[in-house]
């Protein structure tokens, strides 16, 4: 089985979010970039397929050279090879088009992507990719088993979960649950050394337009300070929630 894991290069979850160039660009200064958490769960699940079922695992990112350390980290975790599509990611559709081309040329059976990136939160690349290549698609995927060309997956739904059967070729939008948080791997020294020797192919992009454009960013208005209520006077909280906030 050939697996492609899509890796978004995103600011660490604790990053302060600021903008520059007249609020049109994310300010990357002083920001630590990481593998998108939803993708990391997927990558770890891919490692399981590699170790238990002999799958070959490629990681891919659409982005400039600055994203390569993130791909190297994925190699250090255990992916066999990496591809960077050498173009700036502008919108979900353009990224999905580039990925569709990678999938077609590489003949992947299973594509594991995160349900959404934690920066742009578009949540559309996995589904668009599936639509473009005509593969089956399971979103919000919290467990996945593959047996030959058959797959069994679980999807988180509002208020519960759903078990589905499907078949390869398959794209999933994965999230926590695919593996446990405690199963996530921190690259060790050997992995990091090996990652340096693993192939990282820089692929030139195909011609693909965008469908949407980011115009400007805005930060939420600063919040007023908290109204503190004495622990011995919880009745006051009930009053405030009813009369002032009007939420009960």
């Amino acid at each position: 089985m050939k697996i492609l894991v899509c890796i978004s290069h995103v600011p660490d979850t604790t990053s302060k979010i600021n903008f520059t160039d007249g609020d049109t660009k994310f300010d990357t200064s002083g920001v630590q970039f990481v593998i998108n958490p939803n993708d990391e769960f997927g990558l770890t699940r891919a490692m399981w397929f590699k170790e238990k079922q002999g799958a070959d695992v490629t990681v891919v990112n659409v982005g400039g050279p600055e994203t390569e350390p993130t791909l190297r980290k994925a190699l250090a975790i255990g992916a066999d090879n990496a591809i960077r599509v050498n173009t700036e990611a502008k919108d979900g559709f353009q990224v999905a088009k580039q990925l569709a081309n990678v999938v077609k040329e590489g003949g992947y059976d299973l594509v594991i992507a995160g349900r959404e990136s934690i920066d742009y939160n578009g949540g559309m690349v996995p589904g668009m990719l599936a639509g473009l290549i005509g593969a089956n698609f399971v979103n919000n995927c919290i467990s996945l088993e593959v047996d030959g060309t058959n797959a069994k997956a679980m999807r988180e739904i509002d208020g519960g979960k759903e078990t589905v059967s499907t078949s390869l070729p398959l794209v999933i939008g994965g999230q926590k649950g695919l593996v446990e948080e405690s199963d996530l791997r921190i690259p060790n020294m050997r992995g990091i050394m090996m990652a340096r020797k693993k192939p990282l192919e820089v692929k030139e992009p195909i011609d693909a337009g965008t469908e949407t454009a980011s115009i400007k960013f805005e930060k939420p208005a600063p919040k007023g300070s908290v109204k503190l209520i004495d622990a011995d006077n919880v009745e006051e909280l009930v009053n405030l929630l009813h009369n002032e906030a009007k939420v009960i």
Partner: protein, 319 residues
């Protein structure tokens, strides 16, 4: 030309988000000088949609579409959009809508903006405000394609009343064979889900152990709220993953979010930030949650929560 909105139902009844997206579609239609058409799957009484701005309902009643199937639903919605000559399609941000929207976008060659929080600031160019960086920022985005797809963020635009009535007609699309089959659905019944809840009561590590969740559940029950938890609590296995809210868990956009024994890590706050009113109960006055909350009580949850339950019961009894 009408604006097409996918109004979700469950067991024949419309979900709350259906009325919100209908209201949103009405706002878009007004700006574009056109009408609103809703598409429903196996919904019973569609007249309520008329009260929220819908002019026409396309009713799909097919037994093979009884269970949600993203591929089939997306295909049917795109058939409707093509028949109607629709230029704008509106969906919600429910798990189902987020599943089908990208497929629908490809079917219709439509640009898709998700997590949209306001009516378009302009329809030419079509410009919407959406959340990004997991609620830490907003992003103004244009959709530049001929057909546009908008995913409306839950509890953002709100449900608007519109006196009107909707005509209903049957719509019989062809249903494609789907490669994904639902084997079983495991859904909590008789309990409010985080996705639908107006109020969410959430517990953190400050509760010391899963055996202490009784008071969280009781507080939620008094308020008709859903229960949730912080990431460490779900990682420790005290509560199921489905309850984990935050950046890598479920997003919460409730009217009221009550955090008990949660310090308020930046990832947690990002996930619940879209909630309107936030209350924190924590022993540590330095807990970051106090900076994000509207109301706070510095105190021991084991003393405060039972008192709060008691006072809320008295309050409810008076209502």
């Amino acid at each position: 030309m009408s604006v097409l909105v996918y109004t979700e139902s469950e067991q024949g009844k419309f979900k709350k988000v259906a009325l919100e997206v209908a209201s949103y579609a009405k706002a878009v239609a007004d700006q574009m000088g056109t009408t609103v058409t809703a598409i429903t799957f196996n919904a019973d009484d569609t007249s309520v949609l008329g009260n929220h701005g819908v002019d026409k309902v396309l009713k799909v009643n097919k037994s093979e579409l009884e269970k949600f199937n993203a591929n089939a639903y997306a295909n049917v919605i795109s058939q409707a959009a093509k028949n109607e000559g629709t230029k704008v399609v509106i969906v919600s941000s429910s798990a189902d809508s987020k599943y089908l929207a990208p497929l629908l976008a490809i079917n219709l060659d439509a640009g898709y903006a998700s997590n949209v929080v306001e009516a378009p600031s302009s329809v030419s160019p079509f410009t919407v405000k959406r959340t990004a960086f997991t609620n830490k920022a907003f992003n103004m985005t244009t959709i530049d394609t001929d057909v546009k797809l908008v995913g409306v963020s839950k509890n953002s635009y709100g449900i608007k009343e519109n006196s009107g009535s909707a005509t209903a007609e049957d719509f019989s699309p062809s249903v494609p064979e789907s490669g994904v089959h639902v084997e079983s659905v495991d859904k909590i019944t008789g309990q409010v889900t985080i996705a639908d809840a107006d109020i969410v009561v959430s517990g953190g590590r400050g509760l010391k152990g899963p055996e202490n969740w009784g008071m969280i559940e009781e507080l939620a029950q008094v308020l008709g709220a859903a229960t949730a938890c912080s990431k460490p609590v779900s990682d420790l296995g005290w509560r199921p993953h489905g309850e984990h809210v935050g950046q890598t868990g479920k997003p919460v956009a409730a009217n009221l979010y009550i955090a008990v024994g949660i310090s308020g890590a930046i990832q947690h706050l990002a996930g619940i930030n879209a909630s309107k009113v936030k209350v924190v109960i924590n022993t540590d006055p330095e807990a970051p949650f106090f900076k994000a909350a509207d109301y706070g009580i510095v105190g021991d949850a084991f003393e405060v929560v039972p008192k709060l339950i008691e006072k809320l019961k008295e309050f409810k009894a008076q209502q």
